[in-house]
Symmetry: C2
Subunit: 415 residues, 2 copies
């Protein structure tokens, strides 16, 4: 397996485009005429119909696009050809939300001459603001016109909200002598605490694989990637990962578990784990990526809950911002996690590119060099290593520090 | 029932004292010689032995004082005469923690000439720092000497950490023709997300009441007061509420449920609810008290989980800081709470002393005056009212906004 460029266009037969269409009310959007408009709507299209798997937010308040996409994939038997997605407005908690999301599919279907139930629709942005459909109506023909086999960056920028960097990752791998590709784009910076799903993510592959295995691979990999990610503990209403496989690599279809399925799953893990890392590092206001690697857990669920409790703790997050080796807060966060542990078996150390240092052994904080700890924690990627010494399971959770800028960004997000 | 002064000394026969003894390493503590030292250790003593109820943190990593107090009350049959409590060091996650906590009890018991298992010990402050016992040894005789029926403020200031205001509340009520008093002090500003217990709280009463009913009243009232409070979602390792009743009001002992028990419970609720409010309003870095009043829930547990999810959401908290009427975040937080709800029945409004405004009806955000909403949210006490329209249960949860100062305070708490 090797890393390649191309994001959602890395796989054969996928075109993408993205433009600015003015989803946000112009009166608000034009307050700063010197700031160039970033793309706010994108389209993705496969040359051939795709077997499509998806996971959605578990939030009971769901965005209208989630409801419509789910219904479309049910009607089409999990087949899709195109995606239409916008930022700046989540089209959620609006009385006309479903109608607008369906309209977005219809406009796209008519323009591309495909069945509207083969369109995936997604929206991200402010909740509870009526989505203006006129900009979308104007945008769709332009997006269709601009569809390009190298359009991945135009699309990836269109789904960004408070993101400061574009998030794309792609790999190449071999199945039965055929070269396959799998790549994706993600958006997200705040309201990130995925539960069974995540923030907006679109992943494409040219690998031929059955729907059952495609969905299984996605559901399994989500558990150990996006579901181990938290920026602020807030689970979004519009989270979705959509994985489209068009089979254009012409490999013999993967339709039973085995080596080839494992190869595919490893490629999917590689892309999703890297996107997860990027999402954490670009968390709203974050100055650093904070990972918690838990080992020695009695099962995977314990490892996940423990690691997430640490990276979600505001006190751990602020300590990481201050590069303060306040290990008591880590022990506190492990202690209130809903897991069975023996507090007197916990070891903790800090690791970064600057070195590593043990700070807790058997539940007790030990003497350590504050100076060395500070140096380690001042790095922009820090791992908190926890050993529960109670089993063989391990996991890494991804988060970031809590900073002044998180407060600033979210104190008045809508204006 | 009426509100009175006196905190933990409001009830007959309770003396208190507090001094500065230098718990924190002097080298750290003396960095600013112009800043007067605040009290860091206190003592509380009843003239008569007290029936004593307590609830403790559910964090599996527990402070040594919690373990020792629990053991003492078990040994003494829930009887206590004195409390010794310090701030600046939590005496938690230290190999010699139990030994030091027991030593604090022993020193106090010897000085006051009482059995050591009738001493309640509590510590709050930095976790994982060895507690220096010498300052405590020097302090205990002075604390005993200074015990005073009006010493409540000296004691209340001694348990403060990042608290900016002292938290005391007391009431007077009548049981069987006798005037009774019940008052308490609390500390806490960060690491506040009580679970079955709370931050350090000491409550005293001269009302005579059986242990069974005293503990029942405390456990019940905790559920609807401290357990509905969150500053930052971090449950402390050292949370404790200790309720001491010395019977000196000479009422006929309350030993069965009924009107008198309800009167006592109402007094306890009044004191604990007011302390809860004070704790929330003085949350680290907070500029305002944010309450979420949930009504129309199918049961109390649903109401509590829903209200806490709203006040715990970092996105709601930052929006409150920015006085931004971003109702979508409230709906998002309700949606990810682990409760059964019908999203299309939710109503939301904002209320403060500046007025009230409806922002969501039946799950959809409605049109409202942003100007008016801003004015309401700029108040320093704001209530988010949620109606689930699914039953008759209601509750209020207490929290605060998330500000730059929370990050500042916690970025380098230990130095």
């Amino acid at each position: 397996m090797k890393t390649i460029n191309g994001g959602v266009c890395a796989a054969k037969g996928f075109k993408a485009s993205g433009i600015y269409c003015g989803i946000k009310m112009p009166s608000i959007d034009n307050q700063n005429p010197d700031k160039p408009h970033k793309n706010d709507i994108c389209m993705l299209k496969s040359d051939m119909v795709c077997t499509t798997a998806a996971v959605y937010t578990q939030n009971k308040v769901k965005g209208a696009p989630i409801t419509v996409t789910k219904a479309n994939l049910e009607k089409s038997g999990n087949k899709a050809i195109a995606v239409i997605a916008n930022s700046k407005n989540a089209n959620t908690c609006n009385a006309d939300g479903i109608e607008k999301a369906e309209k977005m599919c219809e406009l796209t279907a008519n323009e591309l001459n495909i069945p509207k139930e083969q369109v995936v629709v997604a929206s991200t942005g402010v909740i509870g603001l009526v989505l203006p459909i006129e900009p979308v109506e104007k945008a769709v023909p332009i997006l269709a016109e601009k569809l390009d086999y190298n359009g991945n960056k135009e699309a990836a920028s269109a789904i960004m909200t408070t993101d400061t960097v574009m998030k794309e990752y792609a790999v190449e791998f071999e199945i039965g002598g055929r070269i396959c590709h799998l790549g994706g784009m993600a958006k997200g910076s705040g309201m990130i605490h995925p539960n069974m799903a995540t923030t907006l993510n679109f992943i494409t592959t040219d690998c031929a694989i059955s729907y059952a295995l495609l969905q299984k691979a996605l559901s399994d990999v989500v558990q150990v990637t996006y579901n181990c990610l938290s920026v602020d503990g807030d689970t979004s209403t519009n989270d979705m990962v959509c994985l489209m496989a068009n089979g254009m690599a012409e490999n013999k279809i993967i339709d039973c578990p085995g080596e080839e399925y494992e190869t595919f799953k490893a490629a999917l893990y590689e892309v999703m784990a890297n996107l997860t890392r990027m999402l954490a590092k670009d968390g709203e206001g974050a100055t650093k990526l904070v990972m918690c690697e838990v080992n020695g857990a009695k099962d995977e669920a314990t490892a996940v809950t423990c690691a997430k409790s640490v990276i979600c703790s505001p006190l751990v997050k602020t300590a990481m911002f201050g590069a303060d080796a306040n290990c008591g807060r880590i022990l506190g966060a492990i202690g209130y996690a809903d897991i069975e542990i023996d507090p007197l078996k916990i070891d903790v150390s800090y690791v970064s590119s600057k070195g590593s240092i043990d700070v807790c052994k058997g539940g007790y904080v030990i003497e350590f060099s504050e100076e060395k700890a500070k140096e380690i924690l001042l790095d922009d990627e820090v791992t908190i290593k926890v050993n529960l010494n109670a089993g063989k399971y391990g996991i890494t959770a991804y988060g970031c520090d809590l900073t002044y800028d998180y407060v600033k960004i979210n104190g008045d997000y809508r204006s």
